[in-house]
Amino acid sequence: MIPATISDAFLLALESHMRRSGQGAHLSVTVVELSGAPDPDRLRATAGRLSARHPLLNARLRRGRDFVARWHPGEPSPVPVEIHPEGTVESLVTSLLDHPRIDIHAHGPNLELHALPIAPDRWALVLVWPHALFDAIGIDKLLAELDDPGDNRRDDWGETAKTEGSPAELWRTAKPMVEEMRSFPAWRVRSPHPKGRTAGPPRFELIRFTPAETAAIRERMAGNAGELLMLPYFATVAARATRAVLSGRHPDEDVPVLLSLPVQRTANPSKRPLFLNHMTAWSLMLEPGDFGDLGQTTKALHRKYAGFLRRGLPRAMDALMKLMARCPSRLYLKPAGFYLKGEICTLFHSHTGRFANGTDQLFGDRILDGFHVPTVSAPPGLGIFFSERSDRLTCTLSWREGSLSPDELELLAATLKADLLGPRSPNPPISREAS
């Protein structure tokens, strides 16, 4: 048995909530666009090697009688490989998410590889994976070893949260985060998913910026917030777009935005394990008064980050998660739901930086582009995710059917583009691909 991390325990609780409310498994998809054509034999050889090397690829995640979540490795079985002769990436990803086969509650493959030719000299490698087993850094590391011919089994997991102590000590450490949560009811936090509505299947849309547009976005970021404040800048852009939707729905309310932002605990990517989740979640509230122009809102969010750090809340959050790790999934989200009146946050957001950082080719084919499609739970029903590859920024809008109307989706995308590119978007038009 392999202990789950405290982040896995949170994701297990989130997935438990999703299953109870008919939203299915919490899966993510990674798409790598490569030069050349798929080689089925090589893909299958890779899949077999991966499965033999990593017992966690056939493991299931469950809580024991002590309610502590653990991974239970199963018998090795090959990672499924499917070659799709035709179609689009968007239709394939939608189909894979609509008919999920990966189930972390049962033994069996926790990874699928799909290959799809998308042009005469270009193909897409599509990976389906459960969010409880990998984070974005983990998937980068998995991509990096697809070409590795070594057959040695690897132990590449383990807890990275350093918070230790008795329950009483943990509670004392966690107290500032609990106090922070107690401040949330002062704001009427909403999310895009309407209360009482059954969440539909996951949906996504890609906004893929050209290198020229990406350069313009960087320049605009430098002018508005400084060239190095990428983290608060993109979170601000995501928050403002979501707020535009919520303000449209509730024109008589001053809408706040509660961001749940994942932050990797280990600074050096080379020291992060391949498997399991190693992020702490920072809950940062943008109050209505924090929303000015883009630069002002970024500065406000920057101050919130600074305040979170200065008050020792990352350590407090880890201590709280450590305490909660023993909590049955059904009860795990109750405190957050109590303080937030049934919500978890307003939206999920991340910017994972350079996609597949450090990997330039797979199977001898050059990586041309790539992006992730994480699915989200409802609530909040919306996630806005960014990554970059080959000087191209990609924004993945991920939502649950029923959380956003088509008009609201238009407004969301238009607000994002207006903030990123400025009110007058340069030509040519941005490529927009909907699922």
Binding site: G226, E227, L229, V263, T266, A267
Partner: protein
């Protein structure tokens, strides 16, 4: 001042095995967005200066030496 900055980087911000010198390119050893924010707070606490977002440029944060130059210019204002 350079040594104090190197100590902050080594102890609280970066998880880097090789020794950091005054001329180490910090972006090449993992100074990312989150690390910059941590570094900014540590600098403000240690040197009693205020680093504005506009100060957070690649030029100012490339090496411990360039960060020291930024702090000196802030202190002289």
């Amino acid at each position: 001042m350079e040594q104090a900055i190197i100590d902050i980087l080594s102890e609280a911000v970066l998880d880097h095995d090789e020794p950091v010198t005054a001329d180490t390119n910090l972006f090449e050893i993992g100074l990312d967005s989150m690390a910059i924010m941590q570094l900014q707070l540590a600098i403000e606490d240690e040197f009693a200066v205020t680093i504005e977002p506009a100060d957070l440029s690649r030029e100012n944060f490339r090496t411990p030496s360039s960060i020291a130059a930024l702090i000196r210019s802030k202190k002289s204002q």
